[in-house]
Symmetry: C2
Subunit: 372 residues, 2 copies
């Protein structure tokens, strides 16, 4: 086993993100008493979707069984539209049928949808059982799987129903990206770029030095591992300083404020989450420049990186940009009617402000409208 | 305002149980910066059922509005059979319609069902918003409202879906017991007796010294307040030492292990929860005597107190007592297939053991079977 371990030192539950080029490590990672200081119970349920299960299910189950666990699986349909209380109910039903105990564990094997739902089921079954995250998408690896945010969608809004529930381990195997659709890879790259802008200048410059970052095959394994490690480290750093988004953690929402509005106003059909985040970062960057917080040079460097990742930089022709500011007020991050923005001040640092004029929000979208 | 404050000093969130003979205190308690060290947001939703709302709703709303909060209400049908994900969904829908923010608060006004559901909705809306508990049943006052256990029922088991979510304040107004049905009062008294047995010998002896404890009207206001205060103090003591039932908190399940089995095997139709707990305490008491842990004298004192509270001491004629031991294995407190029992060692102290022979469980039910 040659896993790189990134600690997430939360006060109530410390855990590790293990970067390893083999899924077969999962069994030994979960039985290593230095990594799992509180022993996990025997029963485990692997939750996955049909595609991921086909590729990686047996490998994970074999490794867990070899380590002595008693493993069953629960397969849910793939896709964001199944991230609902109803799917979570299926996990509950399986948990009941298998008589899961308080010491039992759910193992999420898949992308963000599987990870969020499995985490939420674990947070709420018997008032909280253990969960292990094995993310197989770039987005889930560098973002969703780390930090304990779990949840499902309400018909009228994403992630409105959820809980904080930290995993006992996150295993990131870069090889699982081989089966990730190209567009999903690019969408995940948006979050990697985000870490560069908000937290890690070196990561940003590493990405700048790459010829291409729009497809997995252009990234050498060592470079990919480095990018994953630095991104996971950035996320771990931030959440371990602010588990429940009381302060610092809000910076992870860079690009997400307007990104969410873009997703919502295009009915979640036009853009992947990461693509909307890329557009949101462009908008936030323009606001930062407009408010005199950021340089146009850095804004341009961000733009180039987003383009190099093959991410969109334009909104659809019929995009109702006038509605963005109003919609922002329904975002769950709104506090006492004020919208909080994360704005860059240089590459690798941001500031938080709720003093963005409505006009600046509108103006920030203009460079992305067709004809601009 | 003349509230007695009982602190619940949990590390992540300390809060108080306020015993006050006036519901109109709620507004000032929630705006007192010494009691609410983190300010609550403006929006509040009072969740209640039609009966309780009719009696106390306006008083609570007036007090909250006078204190500057913006209040709406959400009324759910009364009764355990509505303690479901569907009812919680109604709270979510209301929260969405009112655009609740992360700083908003749900106020549970009612018995255990309202408290558990409202707490669970607060635990899971926007990954956790504030909840205030105003219990109006004896059971909820001394037990359910304190300690952060929230949840709803799965068709195949009670409280299987839930979360730990501590309230920001618990307000206990003894006067609200005036509208509580007599049988509910008795059922709540079972938990009061429980605190006497497991934790507080003086409380036990206080109850012994009363002529009657089976109806509210036999308890003088000062005595009632004393009993409520000691019971809430017992619960606060235990949960503040063990928030998530890692150890000590398990003692609160005295009488509940077999009590839950009795509820389940009688399909939740024959006994109220508190009544089943009384029967469970009788059974646990017999097991403790059988194992040489407890004296027959103390067992008899417990029996007398249960009788004086007007609680049942007999199982139905057709009760399938042979099924109890098997059923216990499906209880959510089961760990690695072993059933954990809380057994008294004297009045005011218990021990925890998972070494109870199946035969002892069966024998413990015999004194409660007809003809015994």
């Amino acid at each position: 086993m040659t896993a790189t371990l990134i600690p997430v030192p939360l006060p109530q539950q410390a855990y590790s993100v293990a970067i390893s080029s083999s899924l077969t490590d999962i069994g030994s990672l979960l039985t290593n008493p230095e990594i799992q200081t509180t022993k996990l119970g025997q029963k485990m349920v692997v939750v996955s979707n049909p595609q991921i299960w086909k590729h990686y299910g047996q490998t994970v189950v074999d490794s867990l069984e070899k380590a002595g666990f008693e493993v069953t699986h629960c397969i849910l349909p793939a896709g964001e539209r199944y991230k609902t209380p109803k799917s979570v109910q299926k996990i509950y039903d399986h948990a009941l049928a298998q008589r899961l105990e308080r010491s039992s564990t759910l193992v999420a094997l898949g992308g963000g949808v599987i990870g969020d739902m499995t985490g939420f089921a674990a947070a709420t079954w018997l008032r909280g059982i253990a969960v292990v995250q094995i993310p197989t998408s770039l987005l889930a690896m560098v973002d969703a799987a780390i930090g304990g945010k779990t949840g499902v969608n309400h018909p009228q809004g994403k992630n409105l129903i959820g809980a904080f529930h930290q995993p006992r381990l996150v295993l990131v195997d870069p090889n699982t990206l081989a089966t990730l659709p190209r567009r999903e890879f690019r969408a995940g790259m948006a979050e990697v770029i985000k870490y560069g802008v908000i937290w890690d200048r070196e990561l940003f410059e590493e990405l700048e030095s790459c010829d291409r970052i729009d497809q997995l095959r252009f990234l050498a394994p060592a470079l990919l591992t480095k990018i994953l490690t630095r991104s996971c480290q950035a996320k771990a750093d931030v959440v371990s300083q602010d588990e429940k988004e009381g302060g610092l953690r809000a910076i992870l929402n860079y690009g997400h404020t307007i990104g969410h509005a873009i997703e919502s106003l295009t009915h979640y059909r036009t853009f992947k989450h990461g693509e909307a985040v890329a557009l949101g970062m462009i908008a936030a960057g323009h606001i930062a420049v407009e408010l005199g917080l950021w340089s146009t040079e850095d804004l341009d460097r961000q733009q180039q990186l987003i383009l190099k990742a093959g991410l969109p930089t334009q909104l659809p022709d019929d995009f109702p940009s006038a509605d963005v500011a109003d919609l922002l007020l329904t975002d769950k991050k709104v506090k006492d009617g004020k919208v909080r923005f994360i704005l860059p001040t240089k590459i690798g640092a941001v500031t938080i402000t709720d003093q963005v004029p409505k006009a600046a929000i509108k103006k920030s979208l203009e460079p992305m409208l067709s004809g601009a």
